[in-house]
């Protein structure tokens, strides 16, 4: 695996460099470099059609989720004040029909996007933070820190491998079962179980970064472990983390729906997995009420697919060796 990093993009002199005047100080120079790198990244990303489609779908769905209160009446989502009759087939008033309580399925799905996306993002944040810290520490102490460092690194990787092998769902469900019900529990259960691949990836990248001369320079100048990890290693593993984050959101959203479907969710909140659980418990599956069960599942699939497409595009922009093949 060649080391994906942002340095190549930064080193490539863009047309901007020739035309703009020499900046005042190092900070301005750094900012201009970042701008150039970002522009180069955006240009390469735009070449991946699938990634663009995914990004567009995500922006549209996020906008819909954010503005949902404008056109969905939250009161209509309560079981007792449902506006329609049970199991109305799709009509002009209810484009996706109604559920067993008479709530509009379209409203439920739109509203469910809020919880599903929030849980997806927060769980990803937890697991990426955990995976990055463990991965950077394991990678850093493997190459510096002497015998004690190598022991720490080995122990961290053994723990990672242990979590990697265990069935994710079983662990997440067990966590969700023993903690109090709620959205926070779901976020924690997913975040604490899906981090190992990130840790492995970040560790590999950290090892590659640690071998570079500027890390040696920082160390020679007296930089401690914390300084080297935070200022020299972390910024250079961030591109890998970014790609992994995008892919993990898809995993987390599917995980959220799965946990909700198994009844681990908070019954008071509407999420896509929760809608499907309700549909199954209400017997909508055997009764063939397709409009109750198809939209939420399709929503999960579309969002997960969009994140995956985006993540793969980001991945191949950062790692051109993969790019040719996709």
């Amino acid at each position: 695996m060649s080391a994906p990093n942002g340095r190549d993009a930064r080193a490539a002199p863009g047309p901007e460099r020739a035309t703009t005047p020499v900046p005042a100080g190092p900070a301005a120079l750094a900012w201009r470099r970042r701008r150039v790198a970002l522009a180069a990244f955006a240009r390469s990303f735009a070449r991946h059609r699938a990634g663009l489609v995914g990004l567009a779908a995500l922006l549209a769905i996020s906008a819909l989720a954010l503005t949902a209160p404008l056109f969905v009446d939250e009161a209509g989502l309560s079981i007792t004040r449902a506006p329609g009759d049970p199991y109305e087939p799709p009509s002009r008033r209810y484009p996706l029909g109604t559920d067993n309580f008479g709530r509009s399925v379209l409203d439920l799905v739109v509203w469910g996007a809020r919880v599903s996306l929030t849980v997806g993002f927060l769980a990803t944040f937890v697991s990426v933070a955990l995976g990055t810290v463990i991965g950077v520490a394991a990678g850093h102490f493997a190459s510096s820190g002497g015998l004690a460092g190598r022991v720490v690194s080995t122990v961290l990787m053994r723990i990672t491998d242990w979590f990697l092998v265990l069935p994710t769902l079983v662990l997440a469900v067990a966590l969700a079962a023993v903690l109090p019900r709620g959205v926070g529990t779901i976020i924690l259960a997913i975040g604490l179980t899906v981090w190992p691949p990130t840790a492995r990836l970040v560790r590999a990248q950290t090892l590659a970064v640690e071998a570079r001369p500027y890390v040696e320079r920082a160390r020679a100048l007296g930089g401690g472990h914390a300084h080297v990890m935070a200022w020299h290693v972390l910024p250079n593993v961030m591109p890998v983390v970014l790609a992994q984050t995008t892919l993990l959101v898809a995993t987390s959203i599917i995980a959220e729906s799965t946990l909700s479907f198994l009844g681990m969710g908070d019954p008071a909140t509407v999420s896509w997995g929760g809608i499907l659980e309700a549909a199954r418990n209400a017997g909508a599956i055997s009764a063939g009420i397709w409009w109750y069960m198809i939209p939420p599942g399709l929503a999960i699939a579309v969002v997960a697919l969009s994140f995956t497409l985006c993540g793969r595009a980001v991945e191949s922009v950062l790692n051109p060796r993969l790019g040719e093949a996709r």
């Binding site: 265990l166 769902l169 966590l175 995993t251 799965t258 009764a287 697919l305 995956t308």
Partner: protein, 356 residues
């Protein structure tokens, strides 16, 4: 719940760890290295199993504060009954004593008692092991064969039409939640509503009243179609992506140039030379992904009411019957670790390059 089928994995994570460079293979030195390799793997597995045992104990004891309260949530229970339950489950003992009892129980394959079924958890698990092994085994074999076959097609000409089609389909199916796909198949192919008659049963393993060996086998196979289809659809994507990237790694190898220079046809180069080598690293990953197979089995069994361990797990969750969930947690985790140990031990026999 599956992990992202990404092709950027750390190479070290793909091959078995502890691969030795090929040194001189003198008799006694080699035996020594084999012993070191095997004992290293055994030690790792033992430590992992111990961690599972400890996690299984403390996860279900420490976190909720009091398992009895969790068990009796929403029920009318007097303080006296609660005390009785606490004594029955040994919860009035100090924690270390409980832990020792639990470990001693595990050594005798005693996983505690199910609160819900009033039966030993170990008996429940043994009863339902067969159906799960049948479903998971069939699903894994079919998914691996399909994934490896399509992955070979996709990886041989990256960017070609076969690659784009197979990758797109696999990615879409991977993005679909397992349980929803199962529900969809039930509605379309089994519920008998709409245009399609009910071709397959909506759940269960054998219809009541079916007798005779052949009839039972056929009836089971008929019940197996939809659950296996669901499992395969969700997990074959990983095998496809792994095989694809593994084959792409092999593509630049010198021996393939040699094979082509000999004048071998493209198909022959692929089948005889590239695929066998690309297959090897994939084997380990198939075992590494068994955790995901377990996750898939739980969901598929829940959706299709398949009378196996997954459905048992789900029924334990609904009550909640934490004793049962804990026992299944330990069994699932331990079986995955043991399968990985098996893979680590068998792999050097398959691949001479990593033979110690």
């Amino acid at each position: 719940m599956t992990s992202t089928p990404t092709t950027t994995g750390e190479p070290a994570a793909q091959g078995p760890t502890g691969a030795f460079p090929a040194r001189g293979r003198s008799g006694s030195g080699r035996l020594w290295r084999v012993l070191v390799y095997v004992s290293g793997k055994l030690l790792t597995a033992v430590v992992s199993l111990a961690a599972v045992v400890v996690a299984g104990f403390f996860l279900f004891r420490i976190l909720p504060g009091d398992p009895v309260r969790a068990m009796t949530e929403g029920r009318e229970v007097t303080a006296q009954q609660r005390e009785e339950l606490r004594r029955q489950f040994g919860l009035d003992q100090p924690l270390w004593q409980q832990f020792l009892d639990y470990c001693a129980g595990l050594a005798r394959f005693d996983l505690g008692t199910s609160f819900q079924y009033r039966e030993p958890v170990a008996d429940l698990i043994l009863e339902r092991l067969g159906p799960t092994v049948l479903l998971a085994g069939t699903g894994t074999v079919v998914a691996a064969l399909l994934g490896l076959f399509l992955g070979t097609r996709a990886g041989w000409r990256p960017g070609g039409r076969a690659d784009r089609t197979h990758t797109a389909v696999a990615l879409f199916l991977w993005s679909v939640p397992t349980f929803w796909l199962g529900l969809l198949l039930i509605v379309v192919l089994a519920s008998g509503r709409g245009f399609v008659p009910g071709l397959f049963p909506t759940g269960g393993m054998v219809d009541p009243g079916v007798s005779g060996a052949l009839d039972t086998v056929l009836n089971t196979a008929w019940h197996l179609v939809l659950p296996v289809a669901t499992m395969v659809a969700v997990i074959y994507a990983q095998y496809l992506m792994i095989m694809r990237s593994s084959l792409m790694d092999e593509k630049g190898a010198d021996y393939l140039t040699t094979a082509r220079a000999k004048g071998l046809r493209d198909g022959l180069v692929r089948r005889r030379h590239a695929v066998p080598n690309a297959l090897l690293p994939t084997v380990t990953l198939i075992f590494l992904n068994l955790g995901q197979v377990v996750s898939g089995v739980i969901l598929v069994e829940t959706v299709f009411s398949w009378p196996g361990l997954g459905q048992l797990f789900y029924s334990g969750l609904r009550v909640p019957d934490l004793g049962l969930v804990q026992g299944l947690f330990v069994v699932f985790a331990a079986s995955v670790i043991l399968m990985n140990l098996l893979a680590d031990l068998v792999y050097p026999l398959l691949d001479p390059r990593v033979r110690p």
